[in-house]
Symmetry: C2
Subunit: 458 residues, 2 copies
Amino acid sequence: MANVLVIGGDAAGMSAAAALRRRLPDAYEVVVLERDEWTSYSACGIPYWIAGDVDSADDLVARSPQEHRANGIDLRTGTEAVEIDVEAREVEARHLESGSVERIPFEVLIIATGAEPVRPDLPGIDGDGILGVQSLGDGQAVIGALERDPEHVVVVGSGYIGLEMAEAFVVRGIRTTVVERAPTPLSMIEPSLGQKVAAAMRGRGIELRTGAAVEGFVLDDDGRVTGVEIDGEMLPADLVVLGLGVTARSGLAADAGLPTGVKGGIVTDARQRVAGADRIWAAGDCVETRDRTTDLPIHLPLGTHANKQGMVVADDVAATLLEEPNRLTFPGVVQTAITKFCALEISRTGLGEQQARDAAFDPVVVSIETSARAGYMPEAGEMTVLLVADRGSRRLLGVQVIGTENAGLRVDAAATALTAGMTVDDVVMLDLAYAPPFASVWSPVQVAARAAVKALDA
Amino acid sequence: MANVLVIGGDAAGMSAAAALRRRLPDAYEVVVLERDEWTSYSACGIPYWIAGDVDSADDLVARSPQEHRANGIDLRTGTEAVEIDVEAREVEARHLESGSVERIPFEVLIIATGAEPVRPDLPGIDGDGILGVQSLGDGQAVIGALERDPEHVVVVGSGYIGLEMAEAFVVRGIRTTVVERAPTPLSMIEPSLGQKVAAAMRGRGIELRTGAAVEGFVLDDDGRVTGVEIDGEMLPADLVVLGLGVTARSGLAADAGLPTGVKGGIVTDARQRVAGADRIWAAGDCVETRDRTTDLPIHLPLGTHANKQGMVVADDVAATLLEEPNRLTFPGVVQTAITKFCALEISRTGLGEQQARDAAFDPVVVSIETSARAGYMPEAGEMTVLLVADRGSRRLLGVQVIGTENAGLRVDAAATALTAGMTVDDVVMLDLAYAPPFASVWSPVQVAARAAVKALDA
């Protein structure tokens, strides 16, 4: 009998398991099933491993299976959960190497099955050399492919993973083409900022094909990719990386009759309890969560949320088992994200213009240019800040930043302000850090907030 | 008749004057009296001018007297206000060059006289070569002194101006001694962080004398400084820079019977109206303001506050003259500050431990070490975050950060969180920017907040 059974040994699952192991008395068993051989690793670090900034997969592993076991967790790697029996309170698990199957009863179940990359159903998609970047195994496959000295890499999709991978290939001196369906790359930011990213990509020698849909992949007789077909044209490619985003890996939960929502995300309450289920929790990339600005459900797979949700799960499971009061809830997200392309930092928080409109706000959008330091400092840098506010309430809805040094992390103050429900007037009066090497007397986000005030008062 | 008379042509005064000139009909006169020949300049930039990062004083001037005049402001430089007659609603002004005196009647008076550096009444203090760094004139004097190739510079005081000046001299290859009365430099941060600053200063070859009180200055027969006496010892010095902080330059206001408070700061309400006075406003380094965390008065001379207060004054003066509703108030400060010493970034917001105790909070203080990027990234950097929380309410009271790249601006999110009255539990659940080049899955301020939660729950 597993008192606590966790499916999935990455950020959400292992952070919950580790916290429970520390908090529960030794008599409680904590069992984790993980298909792979790795645990607690940073998938976000894979592009930096490919780029050569990080030496090996091991460096991306925050805590190894051995370490987890030494801490008293019954961690079963190479073991895949194949069925959840909600009524019988059992999980059927298959040991991948031996093929043997067992049924593991649980008192508490934690589902942390993560996300799976989108692989569009296109001709040739299963060819050799067409790789995702979701797991350390994927990363290893890309590293292996690089040993064959590819001449042309095509990255499909220009979300942040696509962008980071493109940078990695460029750093390695490989001819790189990025194919993006939208008119500008990096759809997490508004097109006006996306144009700046496009310019930076092209400036580094990337062939960026926007407004282009992949129609299929050309394979040679051995089933190896040799090209990517877009709009009747064939792009040569001996390595293709898919960066088309992910959906929740929630088939197991859905098959068991558990509710799923946005992008297949398992539906939970703020304690991460699966809706309508008894003593079943879910956390991480496999769940849908709540956007704090709109109060609407959203699927936002990111390690930082997975870790927090894992902590919330551990608190509520322990409280339940030990009959203590619950202390933590997960309040949701505000869609903060950050990435960089070479020296260009790019970040966002809250809502974009269309998102704001979709959520029934009346958005006012302003965009300003400012410097990263006082304007008279050497290398003062350039920065663009786009800000979205609600006309009626004057509430801050979103901020996006693009620029060189000192740019990206500016969104943290904005994320905090919009979480607090501040108006743009409140933001103008915030006491933010000022000194010539870091900002002008008005911090970049405040320059944008002042422009918004002016637009609202016009 | 000056409809609007402004005393002082720097950040607060000129931002108010410029905004009023834009908003008031042309029939209204806006007159500004300024003793110096410069307007709207960045005193904070002076150390970077001394260091050679900025070419000339002109670069530090955001808007010149000529530009202000071209915009329709009656700007009278070289003109000192010598008396305010509150009853008669007149200011007596002296033209410094000619010595001529006139009385200028006003409908509205804005006092923006700034701050003056502390010059302790010590033997020899008036010797040549003992300089402050408050005005562009001071900066010019330091530049002039550097042309004499000083061998030993002594900086008295290690606040951020002292620190920035010490860096400037070190960059120029001059032997530099810093004398500080306290046991550690940079009293705006806790001593445990101050020790790291001390180590960095000594690492760059600065002779740092802490716990040392200056007893006097040794002058040669020409009245030029040759040494600084501390505790019976004589430090050789052919240039001395005073960085002992400032007090409000409010003598003129006090002589007129206007109320002053902390460090001589003129007392105003949230619209910057001078308490008890009719149609007299004050803004910038000459006023006391309100700390938003403690709700207590504080004197916090900083360009960023001066600009905001100038904007508030302009709004309220215009509203008064034009009989329109007032829109803006100045909500106070949270004591955010940032500086750097060479590669080390140092910042703070909110209250330190003793400040929290003095304000009747029950502070819990934690300090954590973390990396500026994901730990596996190259040059992940080091950062120390100290966090102060209130035991009873769990409210965030203060954050201090010291570290290399990506460190200093972290306080902006903390400043925003404490302005919003967030608890440390709220901070843990903030959605802050995460990607390997910028942070670990827990942002540094959140790592500290988690430590605070642990300490509070212990």
